[in-house]
């Protein structure tokens, strides 16, 4: 439960008023941060002070504050979502830091994620990828009885592992190439693993990858930094599957061969 401890911290925050203005770091001293509060609550506290002083509060994205909506995220000392593995920054608590620490906060840096203000970036590029195949083409009203589609426990569980991605963008920020392959491959695996998503397996892979390239995301850096940064611990194993599906899809396109199914 409560530690009752207080910390003194120095934080350097990237301040940038708008996309077209240059940014710079600003330093703030905080002298009594409770170790029991969350990282974002620490920023709330700073903002309350800035507002009182008539200054502009630090903009950061957030909403659910329980690690599930994928809104939050920025770099803390060069690490996406901070030092704790498998944790979004909204779930990170100050007890993981020590007295006197200096923390540098920066927005996600990636060509496909332009900075809007301070720690907030635009991630619309993710959604444009999703709108190019991140679905099963079925209509409301024509679903068969649920238990008529049997899905083994392991398959369902694997599909879930991939589906757990919250689209926060940490994978892109952590990759030196700004690659979105972890994100795209997780989406591709989630749907492609299930029998319901199998008919569009290859077409989906091709369309999503092509959109990803259009958005300016880079290629795989093979450093696995994305997996290390992912708050949902999505596995890089899915990337291989995406590559295979993509190649198969391209072959189908080129040869006109029929490849509709292939779940699993």
């Amino acid at each position: 439960m409560s530690t009752g401890k207080n910390l003194r911290l120095t934080i350097e925050v990237w301040r940038q008023a708008s996309p077209d203005q240059p940014g710079r770091f600003e330093t703030y001293e905080l002298d009594a941060v409770s170790a029991d509060i969350s990282f974002l609550e620490m920023l709330d506290q700073l903002n309350e002070r800035l507002i009182k002083e008539g200054k502009d509060p630090v903009a950061f994205e957030h909403d659910c504050r329980e690690g599930i909506c994928g809104s939050c995220g920025f770099m803390i000392n060069g690490q996406a979502h901070g030092p704790l593995r498998g944790t979004t920054v909204c779930q990170l608590h100050m007890r993981h830091f020590h007295d006197g620490e200096r923390l540098v906060l920066e927005p996600w840096r990636a060509q496909a994620f332009p900075v809007r203000k301070d720690l907030v970036v635009d991630r619309d590029s993710f959604d444009r990828i999703m709108a190019k195949g991140g679905y099963n083409s079925t209509r409301v009203g024509n679903a068969p009885e649920a238990n008529s589609i049997l899905v083994g426990k392991e398959t369902a569980s694997k599909a879930f592992d991939a589906a757990a991605c919250i689209a926060c963008g940490a994978c892109v920020a952590a990759c030196k190439n700004g690659s979105a392959l972890l994100f795209v491959s997780a989406k591709n695996a989630h749907l492609g693993l299930l029998p319901q998503g199998a008919p569009e397996r290859y077409r989906r892979a091709v369309r999503m990858v092509e959109q990803m390239e259009k958005e300016g995301f880079g290629g795989c850096s093979n450093t696995l930094e994305c997996e290390a940064a992912c708050p949902k611990q999505i596995s890089t194993g899915w990337i291989q599957r995406l590559t295979r599906d993509y190649i198969r899809g391209k072959t189908v396109e080129d040869t006109g061969e029929v490849a509709e199914s292939g779940g699993g």
Partner: protein, 636 residues
């Protein structure tokens, strides 16, 4: 004026079929001539937008999030009910209907609730088709668990992230329609008002959150799916940006708001730890399948739980409610936790009780418990720094869900023609208390299977003035929104928006929370008015409303909460009975259960706006119960 919910009559199993048979249709070729605005992309909004687009209507889906996938439905943990009877444990549409009516303490419309039960099974089919990875048995069929207030196993789940997966399923169908051009998706747009032309809802005023620009969007009908208002309490399990604005603005334009005082305080949440606490985290009700709730027998016992021997523990839910035990409905569980703390028997001397997995781990092994609740246990450990596999969770009730909302008829249309309201934003199905795993069910039933039948019926029966943003009503709504923003930003006072929100929350939790009294509610009204006056004199919003400015967004929402709160308190003060989550201390049975007054309060209280600070006008919709006879609820 008595309100008419327009429920069909006749045998309850046939009412929805009858309504559908009577509904007018729009021919496939004509559908593209109609445009519909859907506000919100949670379960209700995403499913509605996609279903209407699948039929061929032109849809604009609007949300304030940067992506539709972030709607707060994403946070739902435990599961979704459906009367599939896969467990062969005698479940049926009727039983789900019965449980929901009883769980709601006889303050919901029978016809609506029966329809909800009837549609529940198909929701699972639809969600599976969209790729929702529900939990499965080894043989490949779907798995179930049990939720509170029921004696069957009808809850479907995807680990502890059911809402996330159902939402991704619904949103994926939205993507499909974005891809085909059938849906225009407008993210980061805050709806600040609705536009009513010749008595019909024809559009919305939005603020683009990136540019600060105000825009008018017009359509033939508007579907509002903006979620609940539990953030009126400031600290709640809702996301930080969940709000009442769209609902409240519609109310100000004439939409009736029903039963606003029916709010749900969820029994199992992680208690607040400091002044800077920004939200509360739910620990899913599903945990009560295996977790046992207890408090020390002795008052003032601050020992660690491991040091308290069994004979000094009071498993008070099991003791008081032997039939349902730990699975009593939420209102009952919350109230009892409060009683324990009021008696000085809080866990560790705090205002909290224990939720203990010791016996379940002993019985099933740690692995089995981890499989079922792993992510919840992790979340608990992350937040508190304690390990719930080793010692019990420490929990306390927190504001969670709001049963009240905009009044709608059986077709889910408000009293403003053309304004439909779905999901948590309407008042319709849960009466005075919602059972677990039934909000996801309702949102998706509304969006997948109700609105695609009732909205076309409305469209087909109307003649419309041409769509134009030049209409006086649209211009004046736009102007009102601009004036209000300018006024707010110009105050340049000395107090932050958050401070006002926190103060309001304190008043609401204290005086209009788990238990309410006539005097307390009167005091609350005075305090709300004082806060509201102060807000308009002293709020400080840094910068201006011209560009991206989160403080402007927050300020607008808090200003609306400060008006809405007064209506909520008024409703609570006028309902001189206790029912479900609405507990008036003056009205209780000798053993502290809610005491309804069916002779005088068997109605929906739908309020009409008469001005800020003015007494609203009450419209009653009488409730009749033909199939479930109202009784004193008993879970003993």
């Amino acid at each position: 004026m008595a309100l008419d919910g327009k429920s069909p009559t006749g045998p309850i199993e046939g009412r929805w079929a009858k309504r559908k048979a009577d509904a007018k249709l729009v021919s496939p070729a004509n559908r593209r001539k109609y445009s519909v605005i859907v506000i919100g992309t949670g379960l209700a909004g995403a499913s509605a937008a996609a279903s209407l687009a699948d039929q061929g209507y032109k849809v604009k889906a609007i949300c304030f999030h940067d992506s539709p996938r972030r709607a707060h439905s994403v946070a739902a943990q435990g599961g979704i009910n459906a009367a599939k009877n896969y467990q062969n444990d005698n479940d049926s549409d009727f039983r789900l209907f019965y449980d929901t009516i009883k769980g709601g303490d006889f303050r919901a419309r029978e016809s609506n609730v029966y329809r909800l039960a009837e549609l529940s099974a198909n929701i699972i089919d639809q969600s599976v088709a969209f790729g929702v990875p529900f939990a499965r048995e080894y043989g490949g069929t779907l798995a179930n668990r049990t939720f509170g207030g029921v004696l069957v196993s009808r809850t479907f789940y995807a680990r502890g992230q059911t809402g996330q997966q159902l939402l991704y399923g619904a949103v994926s169908n939205l993507w499909k329609n974005v891809d085909s051009g059938q849906i225009e998706l407008l993210t980061q747009k805050d709806v600040l008002d609705i536009v009513v032309v010749d008595g019909k809802c024809r559009g919305v005023i939005v603020r683009d959150l990136r540019t600060g620009q105000l825009e008018t969007h017009m359509a033939h009908a508007v579907v509002m799916c903006t979620g609940g208002y539990a953030n009126v309490f400031y600290l709640s399990t809702n996301a930080m940006k969940s709000n009442v604005t769209a609902m409240w603005r519609a109310h100000r334009r004439g939409a009736l708001l029903a039963n606003p005082c029916f709010t749900q305080i969820h029994p199992t949440c992680i208690p607040a730890h400091s002044e800077f606490q920004s939200k509360l985290t739910l620990m899913s009700e599903s945990l009560r399948n295996d977790g046992r709730v207890w408090a020390p027998k002795k008052a003032g016992d601050t020992r660690r739980p491991e040091q308290i021997p069994d004979e000094e523990r009071d498993y008070y839910l099991e003791r008081k409610y032997p039939t349902y035990g730990n699975m009593v409905p939420r209102d009952v569980a919350s109230r009892n936790a409060k009683y324990m703390c009021d008696e000085g028997r809080g866990a560790l001397g705090l205002r909290a009780v224990f939720l203990d997995f010791r016996d379940a781990i002993k019985r099933d092994g740690k692995h089995a418990i981890e499989e079922k609740y792993g992510n919840l246990f992790d979340m608990y450990a992350q937040i508190t720094g304690d390990n719930p596999y080793q010692s019990p969770m420490v929990i306390y009730p927190a504001p969670h869900y709001t049963m009240g909302g905009l009044w709608v008829d059986y077709d889910l249309m408000s009293n403003i023609p053309g304004l439909f309201v779905l999901g948590e934003a309407n008042f319709s199905d849960h009466g005075a208390n919602r059972l677990g795993a039934s909000a996801l069910m309702q949102g998706l039933a509304d969006g997948y299977f109700v609105i695609p039948y009732t909205l076309p019926h409305y469209l087909a029966g109307q003649t419309f003035a041409p769509l134009t943003a030049d209409h006086d009503a649209a211009k004046s709504a736009l102007n009102d929104a601009r004036t209000r923003l300018d006024k707010m930003v110009a105050i340049k006072g000395d107090t932050s928006v958050d401070r006002f929100h926190r103060d309001l929350g304190m008043v609401m939790l204290d005086k209009c929370g788990m238990s309410r009294t006539r005097e307390g509610l009167a005091e609350a009204r005075t305090e709300i008015r004082r806060l509201r006056d102060e807000f308009w004199q002293r709020v400080r919003i840094p910068g201006d409303a011209k560009g991206f400015n989160p403080e402007v967004e927050k300020a607008g929402r808090v200003a609306d909460f400060l008006e809405f709160a007064e209506l909520m308190v008024h409703d609570a003060g006028e309902r001189n009975e206790s029912c479900g989550g609405h507990f008036r201390e003056e009205y209780q049975t000798p053993d502290g259960e809610a005491l309804r007054d069916d002779d005088n309060f068997m109605y929906v209280a739908a309020w009409e706006f008469k001005g800020v600070g003015e007494t609203p006008a009450l419209h009653k919709e009488p409730l009749t119960f033909e199939y479930v006879k109202p009784t004193q609820r008993s879970y003993k």
